[in-house]
Amino acid sequence: MSKGRINLVHLYPREMSIYGDLGNTRCLASRLRWHGYEAVVHSHHPGEDLLPDAHLLVGGGGQDSGQARVEDDLAHNAGVLKDLAADGAPMLMICGMYQLFGNAFVTVEGRRLPGLGILDVTTQGNAKRMIGPVVLETAYGDVVGYENHSGSTVLGAGQQPFGRVRSGLGNNGTDGTEGAVTGAVFGSYLHGPILPANPVFADALIALAVRRATGRDFEPADVDDSVADEARLRQVRRLAG
């Protein structure tokens, strides 16, 4: 007996999932199933209308060419996405999609490309990439992942970061912040993908989605996360001592 059906939307899986970010969707779908829920995964491609009753939205990183391919669609669906965000729909946007959820991306040449403005962050393009393994301290404990971005992101006044950098570079390599959180919308640079090795964070997103879909609190099952915990702890020990 399913405890409820959750609509999971992956934005632009073809264009914006170059670094294994589809693994986040795979992880959420599996965990929902393990917890006794039914997960329905929808792939949203450019040119399609966004599913209005999305309970959880996920997006990933892409190449510049991939970002160019999704910009029109993102503009077309901006209203729906902003309404969903304001209404408390949980979203996890990684790397390129995190940047597109911000106020703007300013290219190396100084051109300002507007974003959705759901997160109060602004990204400046850099010639140099920030690449390497990362450990964060977050509300969900230590979170591990891998960053690979050329944009340097600055938080607006009052914008909460997703975490504090224990090892790695984070938003910009200088202020110690990583990612951003507004309501139930999470932005982060972390690939890995971020969710499989950080199941506490994955289940926090699931709890938000379950409440939205069913109106009831998340009723977790007993899931064995010992392998995920060991994978994470080993990275924390290696990188942050």
Binding site: L22, R129, G132, P193, E230, A231
Partner: protein
């Protein structure tokens, strides 16, 4: 000249020292590069039949070995860099064994396998006469950042090539580069016959860069197309009435057949009227797989297959190639620089084909991450042992009487191969000559 002589002597000494240690293959090349930066250009100047560069994401080592085998079967003296040491200093290191102190290589032709980034650096010293561009796929994005960037590197390599370029007709990351090749430089293509075009998606990356205004080139009589007859044997078709094969390789799978098609097409361009079908078939039939690329080791009377996996396309091809004969398996994942430090790519591979049988062991620095990845595809893992030596020992003893297979990243393969060499008396790295 004195500088070159000193460089060769210093490099030879470093090579002898590093072979005593059983160590890496690039150090002696580094020594020479420091002493004489023009060494490479000098060594390769005056090869009468030119310098061929083989590059691309997947299949470089295998294709290079096949091409060299075909050319040698035709009686040419060919210099090549063995063992996948595909940075410029690796090329120099491999020259040191056979180069005289005057620093000029004595051969008809050089066929060099080069890493995508280093292929371009190589052209700063030496212009290749011919280049073979295999494919572009997601690989080590911590080094190359983006697929598009890799495609650009290869297009620039083809611009630098002086006589002939061979391109993958089915990989638009590669074939789009045709317009950038200089006038007067011959262009040939290799690819698959339309009868198996439906199998391409399992082999290569989707190109999402442009809208679909790109039309693929039409193959002509100089272009080789792969036509498999069954799982093991195939032909390469050139136009209407010229065929090479049928031939059966010692390596399995479609990827190896495509590599053979690329090598055959390139050899046919290089040899022109000297190209002989029978010699080509003989060379392809007998060439041994390179270390770790589908190599089969006799482990206590049972076959042990060593399969290098570096990126999603490569791992996916390996799983589909070997999926038809499931055996007891181990997966070894390291995250050193040469492996790619980001292991995210494991989530772009589907491991469902391992579900029925499960995986006996995961090992390497990221053994737990690999086990976690398999868990999300409902593939059972019996043992997680990060230490490679201990894992190999357990794998070999606990499954002594069964056929076995190890999927491994590059540095994990190097370590495992060394242990296996010691255990079963195999040739060591650096001693594999194409």
């Amino acid at each position: 000249m004195l500088r070159t002589t000193v460089a060769v002597a210093a490099g030879k000494a470093a090579r002898a020292a590093s072979r005593l240690r059983g160590g890496g293959s690039a150090l002696p090349g580094l020594v020479v590069e420091r002493v004489d930066p023009r060494f490479l250009a000098h060594a390769l100047s005056g090869l009468p039949r030119g310098i061929v560069v083989v590059t691309g994401t997947n299949g470089k080592t295998t294709t290079t070995k096949m091409l060299v085998a075909i050319l040698r079967q035709h009686g040419l003296r060919v210099f090549s860099n063995p063992t996948g040491s595909n940075f410029t200093r690796g090329v120099i290191s491999s020259m040191l064994g056979e180069i005289p102190l005057n620093g000029r290589l004595d051969a008809d032709m050089a066929v060099l396998e080069l890493d995508e980034a280093h292929a371009l650096r190589f052209t700063e010293h030496v212009k290749p006469t011919h280049s073979l561009l295999l494919n572009v796929a997601r690989d080590q994005l911590d080094r190359f950042a983006e697929i598009d960037a890799t495609a650009q590197l290869l297009a620039r390599l083809s611009e630098q090539t002086t006589r002939g370029v061979v391109l993958n007709i089915d990989d638009s990351f590669i074939s789009r580069g045709r317009d950038r090749i200089a006038d007067g430089v011959e262009v040939r293509y290799f690819g698959v016959d339309p009868s198996i075009a439906d199998r391409l998606p399992e082999l290569q990356e989707a190109d999402v860069r442009f809208d679909d205004d790109f039309t693929a080139p039409k193959p002509g009589a100089g272009d080789g197309l792969l036509k498999p007859r069954d799982e093991r044997s195939f032909e390469v078709l050139f136009g209407e009435d010229d065929t090479v094969g049928p031939v059966e390789l010692r390596q399995r799978g479609l990827a190896a057949m495509i590599n053979a098609t690329a090598a055959t097409t390139t050899a046919r361009m290089l040899l022109r009227e000297d190209f002989r079908e029978a010699a080509t078939v003989e060379a392809l039939r007998t060439v041994q797989p390179p270390f770790g690329r589908g190599e089969v080791i006799d482990a206590d009377g049972q076959p042990l297959e060593l399969v290098l996996v570096k990126n999603p396309a490569g791992f996916t091809v390996a799983l589909s190639t070997y999926g038809t004969t499931p055996v007891t398996s181990m997966v070894a994942i390291n995250d050193n620089y040469a492996d790619g430090r980001d292991v995210s790519w494991l989530y772009d591979v589907s491991f469902e084909s391992l579900r029925e049988r499960g995986v006996a062991m995961t090992t390497g620095v990221r053994a737990y991450d690999m086990a976690l990845r398999l868990r999300y595809d409902d593939v059972a893992v019996d043992v997680i042992e990060p230490d490679l030596a201990q894992a190999l020992d357990r794998f070999l003893t606990e499954h002594r009487d069964e056929p076995k297979r190890i999927f491994c990243t590059y540095t994990a393969m190097m370590t495992l191969r060394r242990d296996l060499a010691a255990r079963y008396g195999l040739a060591n790295f650096g001693e594999d000559t194409p």
